[in-house]
Amino acid sequence: LADTLADSRDRFFAAAPPPSLYPSAGSGVDVTFIVGTLTLANPVMPASGCFGPELGRLIPVRELGATVTKTVFAGARGGNPAHRLSELAAGMVNSVGIPSRGPAGYLRALHPAYQALGVPTIISVGGHRPQEYAPVVAELLGAGDAYELNVSCPNLERGGTDIGADPHDLRDVVAAVRAETDKPIIVKLPSMISSMPDCARAAEDAGADALCVANSLPSLPIDPLTRRPALGNRIGGLSGPAIRPVVLRLVWLASTAVTIPVIACGGIEAADDALEYFSVGARAIQVGTASFARPFAAVDIARELRARCEAAGVREIAELTR
């Protein structure tokens, strides 16, 4: 029976490099990614909202550098009405609205499943006002290995005026969370931002350990048949390969403005896309939309980046782009 039920997933799991090769033993290749006090075995992780513990059954999650949770908000929230998705030629627009059970609900219902995946858990934290973030981190009671502050989700009620687009608000948020925890803080910045260098520096000055650039692009897709908004919430966030050149520019601006590492997030489907981001200064990447069509996309990229380093005889991924 085991033979008849064999499938491609089993072969993909079996193709995992032996644990001794991870992160860097012996081969001379070092793909580790350091964010604050945390060292990830490799620089590949899922984008918040595009991963769940369900994927632990489908892909060898232990080959990722970390997992990133869906954003946890202060209160419980149900998310947006249907439709929540609209697909375009090279991207998708979502207005999921980030359903959340609040910190206590997350700890009870989700965190154990994330912990069981065997890699560090980065908990995404959100808020509607700057003062909401630190209490959420406090209520998480030290759970998680790092926090990613979602100061940028463009599809919530504040359409267009994200907290993270204002350097002063951003500084307040990061400073308050810094006072609450010693764990690494990643700040995920909005894609629509008047000055990326100013916001990046504000986050760094207030104590962020890394930046994640960037969140999806605020969008308003129209149903071509009805000429009415295609999404229940009208406004959504555009992701996928369509936004890669936009985010490449943002990553370049951010990485030249700060000394903390920049994690790139935007339309990465393959190792070559990741290397585009490394070439403009990123030191880690997140994979989101690509996982929907190819659940194993992020693991594939992690394997490929390492294999490229070995084949080229270089020590670090960044050397592949020089």
């Binding site: 869906k70 929230r77 439709h83 609209s86 999921v96 980030i98 939309t289 996982s291 069509a293």
Partner: protein
């Protein structure tokens, strides 16, 4: 409540590079693909679906996979079948798939149709490609010794989608169509009342049309029969982690409602129709 609690745990989904064994074009409109995936075929229950990743087609890529109901399970050969019509870029690309190609499938997914304990007979009501979502029920019903009847509606009389399956599975089916005016709700309801008022089915399973689902619920109320309805939604992941496929039901502001992929696609007809 959208469904009673699940009595048996669902099989874990997997993904598989499935060989395309056969591609039949039905009446120039529908496409039937036979896909070889013993692991997904062997684990699928009635009414479940697969996500099909659309292969890149001459450089053009389709970003999201397409959810498709499992039309037939052939456990002996490890083949499953899906049926679709060309609606957009994704299905247009899938319509160019040839035998010998392979397709990335993820499945089996979702909570499908469930035959109630002690059921003696089942009535299938479906329209268009929704017909392929209910055939697996007939497979189970036959194995359990139940009788299956069906009211199947298509756009064109000449298509009679599902006709070979009904013959193979011994389904007592009536075919109606839009082009000859035989598929109006009034005619369908009158026919079903005539056939079943004296001896109603144990359960009604519906897919493919909101109007048919509402008509089925009206009949279910008349006959005191449960109605299960399979619904469609735009999906990205098919597993539940993207939260993209909110079910079409009223929900609270502070609690997420059911997802079509994870909590459905089959729901209690009295709630969703």
């Amino acid at each position: 409540m959208l469904r009673p609690p699940e009595l048996t745990p669902r099989a874990e989904p997997t993904w598989d590079d499935a060989l395309v064994v056969e591609h039949e074009v039905i009446d120039g409109y529908y496409h039937r693909l036979v896909l070889h995936s013993p692991s997904i075929t062997g684990r699928a229950t009635a009414g479940q679906f697969v996500m099909i990743t659309v292969p890149s087609d001459g450089g053009a890529t389709v970003l999201l996979p397409r959810p498709m109901a499992i039309h037939r399970r052939r456990v002996d050969t490890g083949n499953l079948e899906v049926i679709f019509s060309v609606l957009g870029r994704g299905t247009a690309a899938l319509a160019r798939i040839a035998p010998g190609d392979s397709l990335l499938l993820t499945g089996p997914l979702g909570r499908g149709f469930e035959l109630p304990a002690g059921a003696a007979s089942v009535l299938l009501i479906a329209h268009g490609s929704g017909i392929c979502a209910v055939m697996t029920v007939a497979e189970d019903a036959r194995a359990a010794g139940m009788t299956t009847s069906a009211m199947l509606s298509t756009a064109f009389r000449s298509t009679a989608l599902g006709e070979p399956d009904c013959r193979e599975l011994g389904i007592d089916a009536v075919f109606v169509a839009e082009d000859d005016g035989s598929n109006t709700i009034g005619l369908i309801t009158a026919d079903l009342r005539q056939r079943f008022d004296t001896s109603p089915p144990s359960v009604i399973m519906v897919c493919g049309s909101g109007a048919l689902a509402r008509a089925a619920v009206a009949l279910g109320q008349r006959w005191r029969t449960p109605v299960q309805v399979s619904v469609e939604a735009h999906m990205a992941c098919g597993l539940g982690y993207c939260h993209g496929c909110a079910a079409p039901v009223a929900t609270r502001a502070d609690e997420e409602g059911p997802l079509v992929c994870r909590d459905g696609p089959v729901f209690d007809g009295y709630v969703v129709a």
